[in-house]
């Protein structure tokens, strides 16, 4: 599957296209298929995303997981600071990243 991701223009947060908007949680990302580029163009033009890119991912029972390690680290946060990730209270939150 293909995911559309980028950074929030104002905050810099990593965001994922859900099919109808943007989420900080990769679990809520939707498959953009071959529609990634026009969506990226429109959303960038509307200043809702900065630096949009289309990436490869696989669907798992826990939701989409990016194929490349760099995107998996983007999805959760730095592996060396669990307290700064999106799920600081979950000690196993990063088990799928590395």
């Amino acid at each position: 599957m293909k995911l559309l991701t980028g950074n929030d223009l104002v905050t810099g947060d990593v965001i994922w296209w859900t099919g109808s908007g943007w989420s900080r949680h990769v679990e809520e990302a939707g498959d953009v298929g071959d529609q990634g580029e026009p969506i990226a163009l429109a959303e960038e033009g509307a200043r809702r995303v900065n630096g949009p890119v289309i990436i490869d991912a696989t669907m798992t029972p826990d939701g989409p997981r990016p194929a490349h390690i760099k995107d998996r680290i983007r999805a959760l946060g730095p592996t060396v600071r669990p307290d700064l990730t999106l799920k600081p209270a979950d000690p196993n939150a990063g088990s799928w990243v590395i």
């Binding site: 810099g12 983007r74 946060g77 730095p78 592996t79 060396v80």
Partner: protein, 542 residues
């Protein structure tokens, strides 16, 4: 320390307001990212893996307690409570919001700080010896010259759009504590016949094509220095490759045309430049130099009580002689075992600021090895400083030992990285946590980069590690034999790379071999240079 005059302050203030307007226009949709990106980079604002990153300049690594407290304030108010001190003596904040950036820069400007020259193809923040003004072996304090170069290079109209970024280091001692020979231009201030001048080295650098600089001039008088540097930059600006980003650094130009031809052109250009009258009048140099006058250091030498073994080890490892008897130079290690090299919390930054204000003539330095220096400490105050550092978790006595690791942010933060540096550093430091074992190994500089851009200086490590991406998996190459000091050399790759755990095991085999074959008084690097790569390869790969 240098204090801004009205021109400095008005330039920085104007830059803040200019950027505030640019940010507003970007947020209002009046600029695209392609238009905005070079403007934000000129103000130190990158877009990294998780957020915007702001790199704040610490000119020649020198700052006072007021500035240090401002960094803590920025970390608390605008970031997530910490900062990362870098290998270019700067600091980075990893979680910045675009909309906050003008306010951050405005707050920094109130304490004479900014983010100018921390990105872009300009002359970057000038780096220098962290012991400047305190080292017993220096011929002069290099910082007035570094400050002069800062003023010359900031907003220099010819050198704002160079073929590529440009890094200059200035030292004034035979011991190179600033990796001077691995800069685009390295300046070693020296004296000849009682006259101050400089040796000029050009074309060094790390990155994907590491090179040691060439000596281009064995002596240029101090009163010609600025003109000579202008000539060096002009020749580069004229002929540096703009068609290929990977061949755009000055080291490639020197490699392609040869040091002799480059020198010939610089000398020719120097004649023309000298006639322009760029070199500052003596009064301006005196004005700058006066601001770096040594602080009044009047303490008498004392015999310290070394009965506490932890204190004694810290004294031996992290404290160096000061040129003024009765005083010492303290290096605060930001390399806690299992910690993140170069990171400091806002509270720790405040503690270091307090210590500087109370005990170190209000001065701190950032080192290229990602540590902090208190340069002017009375020997009698060392126990109190050590006690305060111990209470803050900053008394790690590992300066220049295997756990004093330089590491770039790597794939945990950096958009360019291919592999994570920090976890490797943490695992190595933990493996060698025993301080007795580290001291048995002696001076051993270990440096880790998460990609070939070499921000972690892996080419210059006695042991270097380069993280690469091998089909989507992190892989780590091991290098041996590098040095960024006066005995400069580039490390060589041992052979096939390793997994994260594998590279830690490989390093242990390397250090075991070193202990087996070293001769009396040899550092790891000395042994490597004597016996060569083969015994270590045999130990690593069998």
């Amino acid at each position: 320390m240098y204090k801004y005059d009205e021109y400095d302050q008005s330039m920085v203030d104007a830059r803040v307001e200019e950027f505030r307007d640019q940010v507003q226009r970007r947020l209002a949709g009046q600029m695209t990212e392609d238009q905005f990106k070079p403007l934000r980079l000129m103000n130190g604002l990158y877009l990294q893996l998780h957020a915007y990153m702001l790199r704040v300049a610490v000119p020649y690594g020198t700052l006072d307690s007021r500035q240090m407290r401002m960094l803590a304030h920025v970390a608390r108010k605008y970031d997530r409570g910490y900062g990362h001190f870098t290998t270019r003596q700067n600091i980075q904040f990893n979680w910045i919001k675009l909309a906050d950036t003008p306010d951050i820069l405005a707050e920094l400007a109130t304490v004479e700080m900014h983010a100018i020259q921390t990105s872009g193809n300009c002359i970057r923040n000038i780096s220098s010896d962290q012991f400047a003004g305190a080292a017993a072996d220096e011929v002069t304090d290099p910082r007035p010259w570094a400050e002069l170069l800062r003023q010359w290079s900031t907003f220099h109209p010819e050198f704002t759009y160079l073929p590529r970024k440009f890094k200059i280091a200035v030292i004034a001692a035979p011991e190179d504590r600033a990796a001077m020979r691995l800069h685009d231009i390295g300046i070693e201030l020296t004296e000849r016949d009682g006259r101050l001048g400089a040796k000029i080295f050009v074309g060094g650098g790390m990155g994907r094509t590491p090179m040691i600089s060439h000596e281009i001039r064995d002596f240029i008088g101090a009163d010609d220095l600025l003109s000579y540097l202008e000539a060096c930059l002009r020749v580069y600006n004229r002929y540096g490759r703009r068609d290929n980003i990977y061949k755009a650094r000055i080291k490639i130009l020197l490699h392609e045309i040869g040091a002799d031809e480059y020198r010939r052109q610089v000398e020719e250009e120097f004649v023309a430049v000298k006639a322009l009258g760029l070199d500052p009048p003596a009064a301006e140099l005196e004005r700058i130099t006066a601001m770096f006058a040594p602080p009044p250091l009047t303490a008498e030498p004392v015999e310290l009580d070394r009965s506490d073994p932890d204190f004694a080890v810290w004294l031996d490892q992290n404290v160096r002689p000061h040129k003024q008897p009765g005083h010492a130079i303290v290096t605060i290690s930001l390399k806690l075992i299992g910690g993140i090299p170069g990171d400091a919390s806002a509270d720790q930054i405040d503690v270091m600021a307090d210590l500087a204000e109370r005990y170190s003539a209000d001065e701190l330095r950032v080192t290229h090895a990602q540590n902090i220096v208190l340069p002017h400490v009375a020997q009698a105050d060392l126990p109190a400083i050590w006690q305060a550092l111990t209470e803050t978790g900053l008394a790690e006595a590992n300066l220049d030992l295997i756990s004093d690791i330089i590491a770039c942010p790597g794939l945990d933060y950096c958009a360019l990285a291919n592999a994570r540096s920090i976890p490797v550093a943490q695992k190595i430091a933990t493996r060698f946590a025993d301080l007795g074992r580290q001291r048995e190994l002696g001076e051993l500089k270990l440096k880790i980069s998460g990609c070939i851009n070499a921000c972690g200086h892996h080419h210059a490590g006695h042991i270097g590690i380069l993280g690469v991406d091998r089909k989507g998996t992190e892989n780590f190459q091991l290098l041996l034999g590098g040095s960024g000091a006066e005995d400069v050399s580039l490390g060589k790759i041992t052979g096939p790379g390793f997994s994260e755990d594998g590279v830690v095991d490989a390093i242990e085999r390397v250090t075991d071999k070193y202990l087996e074959v070293r001769e009396s008084g040899e550092r790891f690097l000395d042994t490597y240079r004597r016996v060569g790569m083969e015994p270590f390869k045999e130990a690593i790969y069998g």
